[in-house]
């Protein structure tokens, strides 16, 4: 379970990114974070990844109190989270297998297990047989599939996607969302997005942010700012 309890985040220049934000996300829940640019979506993701710490409030993720300034188990925390970026962040000098396996290599998993896990993950995103292909040979949609494969490979409990369809055409965006649907129920999925079509169609929980505050938290909501 993820719990944000009265979280405030002020940046050094004084701008408030999150203003007394509280919410709970249950295990294996599917949640959209929506809101205009600067609403605080990315700040929530950065807080979850412990790239930044809150100015006030507590954030718990499973057993971890990640708002604690003395929290040192950042590596263990991040090994529970798979992340998908808008710009894919695929390493061009590594082939698809190497890119996906990075998630597992950092945990010290044996090579034989890595091979099996990567194969399963690529199969799930529809990229079987492309293990040895390099990123330059893939389309944007395929690159995002690789990024999803890298995020879901292994036993990461949480999948966070920051504008995963931001650089994709509508058709490809839907293909990507189908992959998220396949994973639904097996992992906690948090997607920050501007894509109203997808949010409106899927009818999942929607947390709407504006100026650093939660203005709506709807069980089966739509893209309604």
């Amino acid at each position: 379970m993820i719990v944000f309890d009265h979280v405030i985040k002020k940046y050094p220049l004084g701008n408030i990114a999150l203003d007394d934000v509280s919410f709970k996300i249950n295990d294996n829940e599917f949640v959209f974070l929506v809101g205009p640019s600067g609403a605080g979506k990315t700040t929530i993701i950065k807080l979850l990844l412990r790239e930044i710490t809150p100015t006030k409030g507590t954030i718990t993720l499973g057993d971890f109190n990640i708002a604690d300034k003395k929290f040192t188990r950042i590596e263990n925390l991040r090994r529970q989270i798979g992340i998908v970026f808008q710009d894919f962040k695929i390493l061009n000098d590594k082939n698809i297998f190497e890119n996906v396996s990075l998630s597992l290599r950092v945990t010290g998993m044996p090579s034989a297990t890595i091979r099996t896990e990567v194969k399963e993950s690529l199969q799930l995103v529809g990229l079987s047989g492309k293990e040895k292909v390099f990123p330059a040979q893939l389309s944007a949609g395929e690159l995002q599939r690789v990024a999803i494969a890298r995020a879901i490979v292994g036993n990461r409990d949480i999948l966070i996607a920051d504008e995963p369809t931001g650089n994709l055409d509508p058709k490809t965006s839907w293909e990507i969302m189908k992959i998220f649907k396949k994973i639904e129920g097996k992992k906690t999925i948090i997607i920050a997005t501007h894509n109203s079509d997808i949010v409106n169609s899927l009818k999942k929980r929607v947390i709407v942010l504006k100026d650093g505050k939660i203005i709506k938290d709807l069980k089966k909501g739509g893209y309604d700012l």
Binding site: R78, L91, D93, V106, T107, R150
Partner: protein, 297 residues
Amino acid sequence: MIEALTSIRRTPYQSLSGFLVLFLTLFLSTGIFIILTFLYGLLGYVETRPQVTVYFKTDTSESDIFKVREQLISSGKVLSIKYVNKQEAFKVYQQFTKDNPLLQQMVSADILPASLEIYAKQPEFLPQIAEFLGKQPGVDEVQFQKDIVSRLLTLTSILRKTSLVLFGFLILMSILVLITITLFKIALKKDEIELLRLLGASNFYIQKPFLLEGFLFGLFSSLTSFLILIGGLFYFYPFLTSYLRGIPALSLNLPHYSLQVWPLNIIFLSVTLVFSLFFGVGIAFISVLISTGRYFK
């Protein structure tokens, strides 16, 4: 390991400059190490020879000689003194001229002088001992290896001080160059490092390829400089043999161990290789740790 090799291949000029600067440092350092061990060995050898030999006139009585000996012992500057009387001197003479019966027949024990062979506690005491002996009655001649010892002492001292300055400069230069190269390589892999951190990689996991690369630089530059230096030593072996003729062995006396330097032997060469490897890998590791430490900070 593959990642380290790939990184070297992808940044050939930076890698080559890192290798060359480390090679130069190790080549000079190991070269100076070898020269210093030889000089210390030579100094040790000279110090084990009778450092001052005083010959008395043939009519000097043994009691006068013993008085001189007692005065030397009480000065506190003498490690040991060996008295060689006329009979013993004659035996030495006979041994020395055993191939020439004519020379043996011409000399008897009476005409040979008694002598004292003196070993000083420190080479610096030699001139003072010689000066003291020169003023004693009954003394015919004082021989001591003033020139050799003082030259060796001066040379060793200069070389030691110069080496320290040179070592310091070379180490600093190598570390700075390697830090710059590593920071450049980190900058090239910035995106990858950021991604690895978000995926939960430990600092050591991120440092590992850089450390391995540093290890390879250290290893290959050490081995190359060692092989070239040893090649040089063997090339000059006939010259060294001729130059050090008459000296059976040179040893570097350490507090609990005596390392034989000459004739060249496997232990000395192994110690030199270990010194070079330790130094090379150490410099590379320190540089990588400083540069990655800066980045993680």
